[in-house]
Structure formats: structure tokens, C-alpha cells
Symmetry: C2
Subunit: 317 residues, 2 copies
């Protein structure tokens, strides 16, 4: 490893916030040296507990995450927050809300917040999020919380990489809420009914229970349901207790390593895919790609045969 990468990693591990921010940017943007940095950081990772929190727009995720972070700070545990923002694939901009949140915690170096925007269409968001979590983990944070809007496959991928997945529901969502619930039932280790002072909280709870009675998890865990009113801090203690309860269960049943091995199988394949894609892009080149795309768009060529030809050429090259 290069000497300056070593120095950088030492600064980051010593708690230098600028070294941390620079490392996250480098990893997020795949800037020069990102792979070497991650190789150097990886041996220091594996100590943080990774929480994934997901919920529909309007479910009060950010408020809940902030309250939970404050709770952990009272226990003297350090927290890193990655807010994955499903906004523009083009502008990729950080949202205003994020800055407001950062100010709120500004005086406390024990809370680090970073928002990540959805990148271009070639995905890798789940992978980048996981890599940023590795950086925060290696920096010595006790907890890393990943929050994301929970509807698309991307979000499912992101929260699946967490040790503990928390799904946030609210009373009174639209007609399609059944559809969402069906999708997240299987990834939730803990359910939160936020804004539970609203009408309909009991009904949401009954619906979760009804769906739970239909499916059993391979690990036999029955996800508890915690009711919160995050804006008032109500139920946060209970949520932290539920998280601790699931952690204890994971340890008792020896499931942590098992779950990690499963996650790494997926991550390794994703990493392979990204690396191979990069190789393919290099070999095809932007100019050729445009020509190919024009030929296909004009129906002079079918794309399925084209891709086969390119792959064959790569094998020989």
C-alpha cells in the first residue's frame, strides 16, 4: 500500500472527520485510489452493527433515525448514518433536508451523517452503500444506520446487506400498501409502526400479524412490532430494546456469521459484475458503443447477437 493511503487510514481511524469525509467521497465517486483504500480499510471493519431502516415516503424515517441515534449517543455509542436518497439519477444532488439534519447534530462528533444520491442507471447503489458502510465501520463507529425509501428493488438490496433490517410503516397509507407490505415482509427483522397516534395503527398491526401467520422465516424469528411517535421521541427506547433483542437472538442461534456469509456471496458476485462491466466498457469504447446503438436503433442489427459477439471478442482479447 502507498504510504499516503496508510497515513490517511490512520487519520481516519484516529477519528479525523475530514479524513473520513474524504474517504467516503472517494469510495462513493470511485475516485482514484478507492479500491486500495477499501483494501486497507477492510481488515479494520466488521465491528460495527449495521442497521437498515426502510419505509415509504412520509413514514418519518429520518426523524426516527435521528431519535435512535440520539438514544445510542446517550449510551455513549458512536453512530454513522447513511441516508440513501432516491432522487434524481441525473442531478444526483444532496437534498436540503440533509444539511438541516447535519446542523442539528453538528455539535456532536459522535454522530456522522452522510446522504447518498441515486447514481446513474448502471446501478451499483447497493454496492456503493455497502462500501461506504465499510468505511464507517472501519472508522470505529459502533453503529451504522442505513436509511432508504423502501419500495424498489434497489432499496431491498440495500437493506438486505444490513445485519438488522427495520421496516417502518404508518397508519393510513394508500391502496397499494398491501403490495409494499408483501415485498418487505420477508426482509423485516423488526417492524415499526410510526405516527402510531394516528387512526389505523391497530389495523396496520393486525395486518402485519395476519401476514406473519402466512409465512415462516427460515430462522424461525418472529419480527416484533414496535409502535413509535418519532417526532415526540415516543417508543424509541422500546425500539432500541427490540434491536438488542434481535441481536441477542442472532448471537444465541449463531446466525451472525451465517448471515454474513450469505450477504458476501451476493456482494462478491455484484463486485465481479461491476468489475467485468468496467472491463467490457473499456474494450468496447464509447465511440463504438454509439455506433452499435445507432445500428440497433435503426434495426440494422439485433442487440442479442451483438452482445454475444462482443463477449466472444473479449474472451479472445
Amino acid at each position: 500500500m502507498k504510504l499516503d493511503t496508510q497515513v490517511w487510514i490512520e487519520q481516519l481511524r484516529a477519528g479525523d472527520p475530514r479524513a473520513l469525509s474524504r474517504a467516503i467521497s472517494t469510495v462513493e465517486n470511485r475516485a482514484d485510489g478507492w479500491a486500495e483504500l477499501l483494501k486497507g480499510l477492510f481488515p479494520h471493519s466488521g465491528h460495527a452493527r449495521i442497521l437498515g431502516l426502510t419505509g415509504a415516503p412520509g413514514s418519518g424515517k429520518s426523524t426516527l433515525v435521528d431519535q435512535l441515534a440520539k438514544h445510542y449517543r446517550k449510551e455513549n455509542r458512536t453512530v454513522g448514518i447513511i441516508a440513501v436518497d432516491p432522487t434524481s439519477p441525473y442531478t444526483g444532488g444532496a437534498i436540503l433536508g440533509d444539511r438541516i439534519r447535519m446542523q442539528d447534530h453538528y455539535s456532536d462528533p459522535g454522530i456522522y451523517i452522510r446522504s447518498m444520491a441515486t447514481r446513474g442507471s448502471l446501478g451499483g447503489l447497493a454496492r456503493t452503500t455497502a462500501d461506504v458502510a465499510t468505511v464507517l465501520d472501519a472508522s470505529g463507529r459502533d453503529l451504522v444506520m442505513i436509511e432508504t425509501v423502501g419500495v424498489g428493488q434497489d432499496e431491498v438490496d440495500i437493506v438486505r446487506l444490513a445485519d438488522i433490517t427495520i421496516v417502518i410503516l404508518v397508519p393510513g397509507m394508500g391502496d397499494d400498501v398491501q403490495t409494499i407490505k408483501a415485498g418487505i415482509m420477508e426482509i423485516a427483522d423488526i417492524f415499526v409502526i410510526n405516527k402510531s397516534d394516528r387512526e389505523g395503527a391497530e389495523r396496520v398491526e393486525r395486518e402485519i400479524r395476519a401476514m406473519q401467520s402466512l409465512a415462516t422465516r427460515s430462522d424461525n424469528w418472529t419480527p416484533p412490532i414496535v409502535k413509535t411517535v418519532a417526532s415526540e421521541g415516543a417508543g424509541i427506547k422500546e425500539l432500541a430494546a427490540a434491536i438488542a433483542g434481535y441481536e441477542a437472538y442472532l448471537h444465541k442461534e449463531n446466525l451472525v456469521l451465517h448471515r454474513n456469509i450469505q450477504n458476501w456471496q451476493e456482494r462478491i458476485v455484484e463486485m465481479l459484475r461491476d468489475a467485468m462491466l468496467e472491463k467490457a466498457r473499456e474494450q468496447v469504447g464509447d465511440g463504438h458503443l454509439k455506433t452499435y446503438a445507432a445500428e440497433v436503433a435503426e434495426h440494422k442489427r439485433d442487440p442479442y447477437s451483438l452482445v454475444e459477439e462482443i463477449i466472444q471478442r473479449l474472451g479472445q482479447g
Copy 2:
């Protein structure tokens, strides 16, 4: 091409619904012969107009799509509908609502509805959807409508592949609606405010206008806003007129081919990625993958170096 694939394609193009269903299943599941089938169908595609419709859960997408389909049927145009269902990555089940919808149109062979579930974490959903659209296109449908819940990156990818993208909003969504709107502003060619008899429709319209004043599109098109109450069929005619208006604009400005070339650049790269992933998986093998994942999970090995090693070996193999 094999003779039976040729016969199959002929049946499909002659309007045989079973040949069409079988072709879609084959493509969706990547079953034996899928690539050969698509190669054979591709030259027949390119005539359908592809509409992408996206909106948050509860925005009434399905009702709107159904009403629009009925409208086009009155004009004697045939319709294919692909409903992309962001439910379970595990069960991948078709939802009940889909069957109900199919029954509703059962008597009319001019409307074909197919729902697609979100597949496993390795994505390709956008690509599969595009391939299924190609099958429907080649079968001679005049219009192919792709409907999807519009929040995650996956959904953005899916609707971006359409010729015309319609974003559906409703009055009275949650706090995060600004976030969603920011994400879809750039992909919307037409906005629909559905359930526009609800309070707040004017406010949604003002918000769209305000955001439009901040950003200009590279093609200088200003997406119109159409108000509908899909459950009563109100505004559907106006929506069809807005779609026709954008089509006319695309033709006048000669943008159709330009847009298709751009889309194909992305699709070809995605196809390359999928093909290379398959190759990588074959070469690594399931058994090795588990061993690697265990080594990484136990922190005996860093995954970044591991992937580099595998790629290097692939190049030599």
C-alpha cells in the same frame, strides 16, 4: 434459427395468444431458447409506441392504465400492458389484482395484460421488462404500456426505456413527496394529477410548475400537466391528446431516433453486464463462491483483492 422457433414466431405474429404468453414467459424466465427467440423477434419490433407510466403507491396507476387502454381500443388500436410489480424478491408471485384486471378485459383480445414481479437481487428487471416489451411490440401491438411504482432506481430505469414517460401524482401525499418529485421531474414527458377532485390538486400543479421553472430539458419540451379522475374516466381523452401532442413533437423535432440511440447505448451496456455476470458465475462456480464468502465474512481475506484475482484468472482462462 431452429424451425420450431420460426413456427412459434409466425404463430405469435399471427395473433395466437398462447404463443405470445409462452414467448413472454420464456423471455421473463430466461428459459431455454430465450435469446434465439428474441433474435428472431427483434426485426419485427420497432413499430409499437412504448408508454411508461409511473407513480407512487396509491396514485391509481392501474386504473389510469386500464382507462387509457379502453380509450385506445375505441380507436381500434391494440394494447399490451406490462405491470411491473415491486413486490417480494423471494416469492415473486403475481398479485391477485392482476387476475381481476385480466378478467375485466378478458373478452377483448386487443388488450393483453401481463404482470411481472421483481426478481432476485441481481437486477436485470429493467432489461427483462424491455425484452418483454420487444416481444409485445413484435407481436404487432400498436401500444405497449409499462406501468410501475415510481420511487426506486429500478423504476426510473424501466420508464426511461419508454418512448414517452408519464408520471402520475396525486394530491395529499406525505412529507417526502418533494423528494419523489425531484427524482422524476427529469424523466416525465407528461404529468398526470390523478384523483384531481381531491383537495390539494391545485397545489400539486403549482409545485410542478415551480420545479419546471428551475430546470430546462435538453429537448426544450415543457411537460404538460393533465388532471384526471381515472376511476370515473375523467381526463382520459385529454391525456391521450397530450400523448399524441408529445408524439407529434418528437416527430417534428426528429427526436425519436435520437432518443432510441441513447436508450440502446444503455441497454447494450446492461446486456453486456448481464452476460458477463453469467460468465463470471460459471467460472467461479457455486462451491468456490461459498468458500470465498466465508473467508471474507471471517475477515481472512479482503473482497476487493479477491475480485481482482478472479478477474485476472478469467482473462487467462
